[in-house]
Amino acid sequence: MTPLFQALTLQLGYNATLVAIGAMLLGVAAGASGSFMVLRKRALVSDAMAHATLPGVGLAFIVMVALGGDGRNLAGLLAGSAISAGIGLLIVDWMTARTRLGEDAAIGAVLSVFFGFGIVLLTVIQTMSGGRQAGLESFLLGSTAGMLLADALTIAVGGALSVAAVWILRRPMTLVAFDEGYARSLGVNVRLTDLMMMGLVLAVTVIGLKIVGLILIVALLIVPAVTARFWTERSASLIWISGAIGGLSGFAGSAMSAAYADVPTGPVIVLFAAALFVLSLLFAPLRGVVGALIRHRRFQARVHRRQGLLALARSEPIHDPVTLRLLRSEGLIRADGVATEAGQDAAARAVRDEWRWEVARTRHKDTALTGRYDGLTPIESVFTPDEIAGFDRLIAEGQT
């Protein structure tokens, strides 16, 4: 058996299994909570938060060592990172609300300054006795190699709790993410919901530090949500599709990284999610590029066919090569451009349709119906047979 297969089927040892499950839960929580951030158009706020965790990690280490404890205690480091990420988030909000600077500037400022200060703290820690072995750099890009059982358990439990929180909070968060005003009119506390959403994202960021790292955790929040958007127009399914994509990426990425040496966990998880994104961008039936292209070509063909038929009916010559090819391939004209019998029928029908629409638009002031006239929609799909019979009578009267 290849190591990859072993890893995917959870046969690579207890720790690797626990990490894979933890990464999967983390991915589900990140995908689901990230979808609210993306819908609320605040995707990059989470990037500021993620970078703002670094000084917290450093300070927590220094404090824990100063108190005589083990500086590498994961729970302590994560608590520190949560506090400084929270402060970073508050500063972003404060700068956006209280100064003339935009949210993007606030995000960039918090991100770079907190990160820079964190790097300063890391260099301080390196000069402390025993600090060189702290391995705090692993929080930048994540590292699951040599993870302790307790750490893996912390991540798995944290991921599970976050998923549960998403499930409990899904209603108010969906409402606020889609339509803030409507949510407020229903009595939803928008400010509180926003805060809970941010709290959830903060929790995911902190839990993800050890596996994905603070530079790339934002990808796990954004990429699945953006990918899921290609597959659905419904908010309820968006959350869980996004969660599934995140979970799949987390699981597959951590398994691959466990199976091969030199394959860092965080980047592989992110690249796996990115591959799913590219596939969805191209091939998702609803909003994918290929689907849109096919729909566009079909629309073009309908326009050419219609215009060609109307030209036939008026016995005008057709010069457009696309129209000629289209009509020929449908057997509506002969090679020399003269209409076949089927072509004459189709042309007559097209002209009748135009006449009927003409009458319909003068008789019906209802733009909801007549507004659908685009020269392509068959009138039978808008009006009832009775109404169309009525139009035909009017046409007949007009001609006599």
Binding site: A43, I107, L111, D262
Partner: protein, 309 residues
């Protein structure tokens, strides 16, 4: 003090100042266009660019690195635009998708490549090595006129000086169209300015600045300098020209104070080793921005009185 200062501190400070100015100048325009995070995105995608350049060229010589990083920055900007249009995705999310993916790709390539023989790793890319850009050949201020000693200047100084000059000249040349497209795109279009091309040119200029600065000082300074000095300057004045001048002053101040704090600050606290200069410069720029947010004369939006805060 003099000789030691010239040898150990003069060139890093100069490089820091030039890099900061090169980033802060285009940062002003990006800030006003609400594209401040482009700098963030560019500095992330520089990593895959230099790794690819290393894989292709097999060296870490400056020219291939700069070309690779510049190409990566331009490709990233094009990708962001493409994804935004093709997928109908909001700009922030599209940016987040592109730069994290490219960065992840860069890290993966780096880990899978044997770079043990060369100085190329993620931490170096993030933090730079400003402290190591010393001028060993110098033995005092007199060395500034000594050709033999000048030949020993770190090559990063020359490169960042050229990049800074390019950015300054471009800003000066295209000042009017840049300002017009930034503040009134509709009007700029009606008088026939190529709005899209100017926007793209600005991003390319920012990429040039970012890549050259990155080479010398790492990506933390790049992101911080794109945003913090222009943002602080924005809170000082309502006039854009004055804002640009303030931002250059703030960038210079951050670089000098940051470097001095990183080198000598720990001594004042009884520690012996210097801390990261890049990190400290970013921190100082953040402190300046924080002070500006609290006290600057034009910190509030128009129409918002002192009492309403």
């Amino acid at each position: 003090m003099g000789a030691e200062f010239v040898q150990l501190s003069l060139t890093p400070i100069l490089i820091g100042v030039l890099a900061s100015i090169a980033c802060a100048l285009p940062g002003n325009f990006l800030l006003m266009r609400r594209q401040a995070l482009i700098g963030d995105a560019i500095s992330h995608v520089v990593l895959p660019g230099i790794v690819l350049a290393f894989l292709v060229s097999g060296t870490i010589a400056a020219v291939p690195m700069l070309l690779g990083a510049g190409a990566a920055a331009v490709i990233a900007v094009a990708l962001i635009e493409a994804i935004k249009r093709l997928g109908r995705i909001e700009a922030g999310a599209a940016m987040g998708v592109v730069f994290t993916t490219l960065f992840a790709g860069g890290v993966l390539m780096l880990e899978r490549t044997d770079t043990s023989g060369v100085h190329l790793d993620v931490e170096h890319a993030l933090m730079g090595s400003l402290e190591s850009l010393i001028w060993l050949e110098a033995d005092g201020w007199a060395s500034l006129t000594d050709p033999a000693a000048l030949a020993g200047l770190p090559p990063e100084l020359g490169r960042i000086a050229i990049a800074c000059l390019i950015v300054v000249v471009l800003t000066w040349l295209f000042w009017r169209p840049l300002v017009l497209t930034t503040f009134d795109e509709g009007f700029a279009r009606t008088i026939g300015l190529p709005v899209a091309a100017i926007g793209f040119g600005l991003v390319v200029a920012a990429a040039v600045a970012a890549v050259a600065a990155f080479d010398a000082v790492g990506s933390i300074i790049v992101i911080a300098m794109f945003i913090c000095p222009p943002a602080a300057a924005r809170l000082m004045t309502d006039r854009f020209g004055v804002q640009v001048a303030w931002s250059i002053a703030f960038a210079t101040l951050s670089a000098i104070v940051g470097y001095v704090f990183a080198g000598y600050g720990p001594l004042w606290f009884g520690l012996y080793d210097a801390v990261s200069a890049a990190g400290m410069i970013a921190t100082v720029s953040g402190v300046i921005l924080a002070l500006a947010c609290l006290f600057a004369p034009r910190r509030r939006r128009l129409g918002e009185g002192r009492g309403s805060a």
